[in-house]
Each structure stands twice: as structure tokens, then as C-alpha cells.
């Protein structure tokens, strides 16, 4: 049981962005994926989720043994993958409640009668410090940055995936919003099902890791994972920036 990425090479518009990614995430674990802008973190997230613009040249992504490459995005979600978008799309005219209900029914048909669904979503709104009026707003339509990220976390909680990829969920958030996000993830992890959820937290800054401590930290540069270590690696990045690691990697290659 794991999410296993091996030898993944991905091109966008003919340009190879991911140049061989190997990564294994086990249930219940938190992995951080850090790296400078443009290093390919979002590309990895989109490729795993099956975005049509990302062309897999080689490699595989296996979720508990099931090959995801080649599956449409909805089948990957049904298999247990969730992506919290860096820039979530707005869907005007579709209410948050309707959207989440439809999604929940799709990934987990018939398991939650409407009353239970209601109860659960209201609890999650509370954890995230969100007004119930949110439910009748249109998905991400006119949402502030913080509201969008909260909505991603609300969906995460309601869908309770096996593997969650959080793409810069922390960026652009103020401290309150960041705390809400942390609370929400930790509340999920405190549930029986959520305890098995594994996280791949893509971030630029280690500050989100203060709320959701990572077991493993990976550094990505130019489409490769160049270094993997424990939580201390995140702090090293904060102190020294990416340049030092870049130099290290360059010299080790040389």
C-alpha cells in the first residue's frame, strides 16, 4: 500500500519538465516537496491527477498497486487521489454544496445519506472557520485567495482521500487562514479514515510544516528530486535558501 511514483518524465508543450521522478508515499505519512519556483512541483501534481496538457513520456504512478497513468482524472480521484490546487478554477452557477455533494457521491457512492452529509459539512465548516453561507456561493467564483484555499480544504475533508497532494495551499494565506488549514488537516488526520491519509505537501516555505509536521522532505530542482531528508531539511532551506543546495547538487554531479 503506497503511492509510488517511478521514473516519471513529463512534457508540457513538447518541453520536458519532469525528468525522472521517483517518490514513494506511504499511508498516514506526510511528505513535503519543496523547491524553487518553476522547478516542476505543480507539474508533478497535475501529472499525477491527469491534467490533459501534461504528457507522460515515461514512468508510472501507482496508487496501492493501481496504475494511474492513462486513467482519466475522475478515475484517479475515485481511486483515492486528491489534489488541492494552487489556483483552483471557478465554476460559476454551481453551488459549493452541490459541487461537494456531487463529488462525494462520485468518489463514495451512497455512503452518506443527505442528513449525515449535512452534519459532516457543517462540522467541517466550523473547523475551517467558514460561514455556512459559503455553501450557496458558486464554486470559487469571486472568492478571495484565502477562501479558495479553505474551500480546497473543505473538499479534502469531505472526500477523505487515501492520498492528498496539497499544492502551495499555504501560499498567500494570512496566519489565521494558515491556522485554519492546519486545524482542518489535523482534524482529518485525527479521524479513523483520515489517519491513513497520506499527504504530499508542496510548498515554497516551511511555515505550513509548523502546523502539519513532515516525516520526509524532498527538494526538487529542474524537474528532479535532488535531495531527500528528514524535517530538518526544511529548516535548512529556510536558513540557507535553495542556492546552497543547488551548489551542493552541482558539485556532486561534477
Amino acid at each position: 500500500m503506497s503511492l509510488e511514483i517511478s521514473g516519471l518524465r513529463v512534457a508540457v508543450e513538447e518541453k520536458e519538465i519532469l525528468r525522472g521522478i521517483d517518490l514513494v508515499v506511504e499511508p498516514g505519512k506526510v511528505h513535503a516537496l519543496m523547491g524553487p519556483n518553476g522547478s516542476g512541483k505543480s507539474t508533478l501534481a497535475f501529472s499525477m491527477s491527469g491534467h490533459p496538457n501534461y504528457h507522460v513520456l515515461a514512468g508510472s504512478v501507482k496508487l496501492d498497486g493501481e496504475e494511474l497513468i492513462g486513467l482519466p482524472p475522475d478515475k484517479r480521484a475515485k481511486a483515492g487521489l486528491f489534489l488541492s490546487f494552487q489556483y483552483p478554477a471557478a465554476i460559476p452557477g454551481v453551488s459549493v454544496a452541490n459541487f461537494i455533494r456531487t463529488a462525494r457521491m462520485a468518489v463514495n457512492p451512497d455512503d452518506l445519506p443527505p442528513a449525515k452529509f449535512r452534519k459532516m459539512i457543517f462540522e467541517q465548516l466550523d473547523v475551517l472557520d467558514m460561514d455556512p453561507a459559503f455553501l450557496s456561493r458558486y464554486v470559487n467564483d469571486g472568492f478571495s485567495g484565502g477562501e479558495k484555499k479553505r474551500l480546497e480544504m473543505l473538499q479534502l475533508a469531505m472526500l477523505c482521500p487515501k492520498y492528498a497532494v496539497l499544492d502551495e495551499t499555504d501560499s498567500g494565506l494570512d496566519v489565521d487562514a494558515l491556522q485554519s488549514v492546519g486545524r482542518s488537516v489535523n482534524a482529518l488526520r485525527a479521524t479513523e479514515a483520515g489517519a491513513k491519509t497520506a499527504f504530499l505537501i508542496i510548498t515554497h516555505y516551511p511555515r505550513i510544516l509548523a502546523y502539519i509536521p513532515a516525516d520526509v522532505v524532498h527538494i526538487m530542482m529542474d524537474g528532479r528530486i535532488v535531495k531527500t531528508g528528514g524535517p530538518e531539511l526544511a529548516n535548512q532551506i529556510e536558513r540557507e535558501g535553495y542556492d546552497k543546495i543547488r551548489d551542493e547538487v552541482a558539485s556532486s554531479v561534477a
Partner: protein, 468 residues
């Protein structure tokens, strides 16, 4: 997939006179005039023989509404086929007003038809035959809801100042045809200061087997400060040919909502020309859902005739299969300090086609006017096509005029976002497409009506063979 209900088998009420084969010819016109002469007061005629002949002459001389530069439009208005159509005009007694006649046109699992229960009276026509209940047709005694023929006889003083002044038989070929062959209609009068809460319903139903030629003329008059909602519905089976006129006079400070739900049979053709004239501080709101028919041509004109007048139009259409819909919304700012707001959403799938003409005219002296026109088009298949043609004619200074338009297919990022949540492609497209119409649907009055429109759109998405 939702189960798609067939219409109840409404059998056509017997008419005392055998229906005529219909074609837009001088011979048919004379036969119709003779028919009315024989039927007398039993017919629904509200037009004199001379007026009919005059209108028919206009029909012959008016230009055929144009084709479309650079586009293939499957329908040539000069060559509409008129095979098998039947023209008649009459009345039929019924025990109660059968508003429920439309119930089965919606989802059978749904609740009672959206408007079967809440109403402030109204009329039901089966083809061109008026179904006449023994009781009153208006819930409020001060309000008049009657056939146009009866109004011409009994309420001439109220009708005469309005009829043929807002939409004139010479306005276009189809308005002329509607007058020449008028065979049914309605008159609604709401006196000064009277507020009618529930909708007054004007239903036009066609039976499964009928190919009726229906020429309704509807006149709505609201006195000063009056308020009302009129629901005009077209539904039912049969390859009907409907060609009619709606005229609304909105008195000073009055507010009129006209809701049109066109869910005619897939083989039907529907040509309606609607017009409103708004007096000082009056508000006219059009809500149009053009969902049915093989071909629908809908023209809506609002004249803001005095200061403070406001005209709003919220319209949607969705063409599937080989449907064509042509919609024109024209707003005339005849004087200054008038406001208009037009919002149109349209979508097409399969080989559906459509075109939208959005016209705003702000006349020379109309300073301080404020006009806004917004239309968005969603194309759901490669062969689907919708043209959007705005025309802003602004002759005054110191006005606010906004126009915005988009044409596009479903946004890939929206689709991916929904699919990344486990929602299958078809359901995601349905969700996004329905959401697209929401800004217009939300302007329709009443949640049941809004739900009915959502369900009707949903059914059309189900029926589509190609959506992408």
C-alpha cells in the same frame, strides 16, 4: 438518465366547424374569414375581415427576414413548409381551467407542475381552441383575464388604445401573418394600484396528433402603480405552427413581469413578436426561456417612453439536435433618464444553431440613460453554432452604455477541476453547462419555475448525442 415523459394524450376538443387546411395564401385567408363569419361569436376572432386582408397584404409586401452573412441557416423564412397544418378558431366548455394539462410535460417524478397550483387565474388554449371554465378566470374580481375576442366585445374602451399600437401588423412579416390569421388570444387588465401576487397564466397546449396553426394575440394592460406577473407558456406535442403577438402596456409606476416558457414539441415552429411600452417610472421585466420547437423566432422590443422607465430582459435558449432559435432583444430609450438591462445566455449542442440580436437604441434627447447588454454563448459540440450580433445606436451624450459578450466552449480548467474531484466527464459537463445558465435562471420568479427550467435544460443535455 432521467426518464423522459411523454405528454398525456390530450384529445383535441371538438370544434363546431371543421378545421381548414392552413397555408399563408389568399384563398386560405378568405376561407378563414368565411369560417369566422359562420362561427360568429363562437370563434376567437378579434380582427375584422378588412384588418385581416390589410395585414395579409402587408405580409406579402414586407421583406422576408434575412439570412445571415456567411452562415448557413437551415431555415429559409421564405420557404417554410406548411403541409398538414389545420386552422380553426373556437371555444370549448370545460369543468375547470386545466392548468395541469402541462403537468406531464415535465419529469413525472417531480412534484406537481410548477405552475399548476399557484396562479391568479388565466386561460388555457388547446391549439387555437379556448377552454372555457364555468367559473371566473381571474382570482381578483378587479382584474380582467379574458379572451381577446371577448375583450374586443366587452372591454373595447380598455383594449382599443393599446391593441396594434405596441406591436403593429406592419412591424414584420410574421406580425402581419399573426394578424391576418389571428384565431385566439388573451386580454389581461390590471387596474390602477392593483397588485396581483401569483402569476396569471396563459397556456398554449398542443395535442400529440395535432398540427395546429395557432395565431395568438395577447394584450396586457397595467394601470398606474399596478403589479402583475404573466406567464406565457407553450407546450405539448404535435408539429404546431405558432405565430403570435404579445403587447404590453405598463402604466406609470407599474411593474410587469412577463415570463415565457417555450417548450413546444421538437417539431413545432414558434414565431412570437413581443413588445412593451413603459410609461413614467414603469418597470417591464421579460424572462424568456426558449427551449422547444424545431425553429423558434422570438423578437422582444421594449420602449422606454417616459422618464424613470426601466426595461429588463433575461433570456436563455438552448438548441440541440437540429434546432434553430433566433432571438432579438431590442430596447428603445425614447427619452432620457431611462434604464435597461439585458442578460442573455445561450448554448447549443449537436447541430443546434442560434443567433442573438441585441439592440439598444438611445435616441437623441435621451440624456442620462443607462443601458447594459450582456450576452454569453456556450458551444457544446463542434457542429453547434450561435452568432451574437450586438447593435448599439447611441445618439445622445451623457449616457451610460455597456455591452459585453463572450463565445466559447466549456473551459478545460473548469472541467479538469470538477473531474479531479471524481466527477465523470459527462456529469461535469452537465454541471458546468447548467451553471452557465444560472445568471439568467436566477432572474426568473419563483423557485419552482426556476427548477422546472433547470430540469428542462438537464433533459436537453441528456438528449444530446455529442457534448464536449
Amino acid at each position: 438518465m432521467r426518464s423522459r415523459a411523454a405528454l398525456p394524450s390530450i384529445t383535441a376538443p371538438p370544434t363546431s366547424h371543421a378545421p381548414l387546411p392552413f397555408a399563408p395564401t389568399a384563398e386560405t385567408l378568405e376561407a378563414a374569414i368565411a369560417y369566422i363569419g359562420q362561427a360568429g361569436a363562437a370563434s376567437g376572432s378579434a380582427v375584422t375581415a378588412a384588418e385581416r386582408r390589410g395585414a395579409f397584404a402587408a405580409y406579402g409586401s414586407l421583406p422576408v427576414p434575412g439570412g445571415f452573412p456567411g452562415r448557413s441557416w437551415r431555415y429559409n423564412y421564405a420557404k417554410l413548409p406548411f403541409e398538414d397544418l389545420r386552422w380553426s378558431s373556437g371555444r370549448q366548455s370545460v369543468a375547470t381551467i386545466p392548468f395541469g394539462a402541462l403537468s406531464a410535460s415535465a419529469d413525472p417524478d417531480a412534484d406537481a407542475p410548477a405552475l399548476a397550483t399557484e396562479n391568479a387565474g388565466g386561460l388555457v388554449h388547446f391549439g387555437a381552441t379556448l377552454l372555457e371554465p364555468p367559473g371566473p378566470t381571474a382570482a381578483d374580481k378587479r382584474v380582467i383575464v379574458t379572451s381577446l375576442a371577448a375583450a374586443r366585445r366587452d372591454h373595447a374602451a380598455l383594449l382599443a388604445p393599446v391593441i396594434d399600437t405596441i406591436v403593429q401588423p406592419g412591424d414584420d412579416r410574421f406580425a402581419a401573418l399573426a394578424t391576418a390569421f389571428q384565431n385566439c388570444g388573451a386580454f389581461v387588465y390590471v387596474p390602477d394600484g392593483v397588485v396581483v401576487d401569483a402569476p396569471i397564466q396563459l397556456l398554449f397546449v398542443n395535442g400529440e396528433a395535432d398540427a395546429a396553426a395557432v395565431f395568438p394575440h395577447i394584450v396586457l394592460v397595467l394601470g398606474a402603480g399596478a403589479r402583475a406577473t404573466v406567464l406565457e407558456r407553450h407546450a405539448g406535442g404535435g408539429d404546431a405552427f405558432i405565430c403570435g403577438v404579445v403587447e404590453a402596456h405598463v402604466g406609470p409606476g407599474a411593474q410587469l413581469d412577463v415570463v415565457t416558457v417555450q417548450r413546444a414539441d421538437v417539431e413545432a415552429r414558434v414565431f412570437m413578436r413581443r413588445g412593451a411600452r413603459c410609461e413614467r417610472d414603469a418597470t417591464m421585466r421579460w424572462h424568456l426561456a426558449e427551449l422547444g420547437g424545431a425553429l423558434a423566432r422570438s423578437v422582444v422590443t421594449t420602449t422606454l417612453a417616459d422618464t424613470g422607465a426601466r426595461g429588463e430582459a433575461a433570456a436563455l435558449f438552448f438548441t440541440g439536435a437540429t434546432q434553430h432559435v433566433e432571438l432579438t432583444v431590442h430596447t428603445e430609450h425614447a427619452v432620457g433618464q431611462t434604464t435597461s438591462n439585458t442578460v442573455v445566455r445561450s448554448a447549443a449542442t449537436d447541430h443546434g444553431q442560434g443567433r442573438f440580436f441585441g439592440n439598444i437604441a438611445i435616441r437623441k434627447q435621451s440624456h442620462g440613460s443607462d443601458a447594459s447588454l450582456r450576452d454569453d454563448v456556450l458551444l457544446l459540440s463542434k457542429a453547434a453554432h450561435i452568432d451574437s450580433i450586438p447593435a448599439l445606436e447611441i445618439a445622445a451624450n451623457d449616457v451610460k452604455a455597456f455591452h459585453g459578450a463572450t463565445v466559447g466552449s466549456v473551459d478545460e480548467e473548469q472541467l479538469f477541476y470538477a473531474r479531479s474531484r471524481g466527477i465523470g466527464r459527462a456529469d461535469a459537463l452537465r454541471m458546468i453547462a447548467l451553471g452557465f445558465f444560472e445568471p439568467v435562471i436566477s432572474r426568473f420568479p419563483g423557485e419552482r419555475l426556476r427548477d422546472e427550467i433547470r430540469t428542462a435544460l438537464d433533459d436537453k443535455i441528456d438528449a444530446a448525442t455529442e457534448i464536449d
